[in-house]
């Protein structure tokens, strides 16, 4: 009984998230030549993806709780509660991006006999981290707004929706930032 219900409700979402993963994987494949020209770049990828996933899922689920607590709704969405959440997510993204950049640089020197260009690596992580923070925060607010308007429970929608598009957007941000920093 449980099995049937789980399969019916969750399997389609799992497959959808997997398709999102395939897009992210193909962007990773497109970046192959960049990994060879920017030493140490491959190291930051899992960190940025995890950072983005953790921060935006927590942001989404806090907005879900805020909705259930009655502090935000479709008519009153752009208020101070939301602003505090946005500032919190952006500040966290900045601190942790910087941390990823610095630690990847240090561990790459320690584990491999390679010295990456610190400005290049830290620059790419910061740019990708902030860019994806702004894009995904905006997207989450958009999703939440639509979910409110339709009267759905945000808890059922934001998690899977962010999991599917989040990785693709994050990978595109890393790709774009790496290309940009490599050129300058």
């Amino acid at each position: 009984m449980i099995a049937k219900e789980m399969l019916k409700q969750s399997l389609p979402l799992l497959l959808l998230c997997g398709i999102g993963g395939i897009f992210a994987g193909n962007i990773l494949g497109l970046m192959s030549s960049l990994f060879q020209t920017i030493p140490g770049l491959i190291v930051v990828i899992p960190g940025i993806i995890a950072l983005r996933g953790n921060i935006s899922t927590a942001f989404g689920s806090r907005l879900g709780s805020a909705y259930h607590l009655g502090v935000i709704n479709a008519e009153n969405i752009w208020n101070n509660e939301l602003k505090q959440n946005i500032i919190g997510s952006i500040v966290l993204s900045f601190i942790v991006s910087l941390l990823i950049g610095v630690l990847s640089y240090i561990t790459t020197i320690l584990f491999f006999d390679i010295t990456p260009n610190p400005y290049q690596i830290i620059g790419i992580v910061l740019l990708a981290g902030m860019l994806s923070a702004v894009l995904l925060t905006t997207l989450t607010i958009g999703i939440i707004y639509l979910v409110f308007r339709r009267g759905y429970d945000p808890d059922n929608i934001t998690g899977p929706a962010l999991a599917t598009v989040g990785d693709i957007i994050t990978m595109l941000c890393i790709f774009g930032s790496a290309l940009f920093i490599e050129v300058i």
């Binding site: 992210a24 959440n85 790459t108």
Partner: protein
């Protein structure tokens, strides 16, 4: 006002820092395997986000269900709990179906996007299925333990299970993939 950005940062930072440090090891593992993955077996390289996201999703999903069950009281903290077993087995089964389907999709796309396919379909499918099966089993068990332990300690499993299983899932996924590539090829 309920939310304060300083509190969000202060509560979020410790767990995030820990997660990022573990992910850096995942990154260094990828760095270690970079040559093999990019030059020789790029089909596995593009499979990595899929392997990890499906594993993490199944673990989070199971964790959220266990958390609700524990809160409502329909699941007891007991490793013989029947409802828990049923959800555990269903999760593993869903994992197998998902990996089977996605392996076929990845390989079909790879036939077009990769100029020189270095591996035939059957060995590729077997490596992905082996990695996926072991990963989903490991993640599901970790999910049950994390949910039970956190609930027992009075911490809401909803806050803990997802970050724990996605982070551990990322590192286990890469390790299992490397092991099965080594075994199979």
């Amino acid at each position: 006002m309920i939310y304060n950005w300083k509190k969000i940062v202060r509560y979020g930072l410790p767990l995030l820092t820990l997660a990022v440090i573990i992910e850096l090891f995942v990154g260094q593992l990828l760095h270690q395997g970079e040559e093999m993955l990019i030059e020789q077996l790029s089909i596995f390289f593009i499979s990595i986000p899929v392997i990890n996201s499906v594993g993490g999703n199944i673990g989070s999903l199971l964790g959220a269900r266990l958390a609700s069950g524990l809160h409502v009281g329909s699941i007891q903290i007991n490793f013989k709990d029947k409802r828990m077993h049923e959800q555990l087995i269903t999760s593993i089964m869903m994992g197998l179906i998902t990996y089977l389907f996605l392996a076929i999709v990845i390989y079909s796309i790879g036939l077009f996007s990769i100029t020189k396919m270095q591996i035939t379909f059957i060995p590729f499918l077997l490596v992905i299925l082996a990695t996926g099966t072991v990963l989903v089993c490991a993640i599901s068990v970790i999910s049950v333990f994390t949910a039970f332990i956190s609930f027992k300690k009075g911490i809401d499993p909803d806050d803990v299970v997802a970050p724990v299983v996605t982070t551990l899932g990322d590192i286990l996924g890469i390790i299992f993939l490397f092991v099965f590539i080594g075994v199979g090829i």
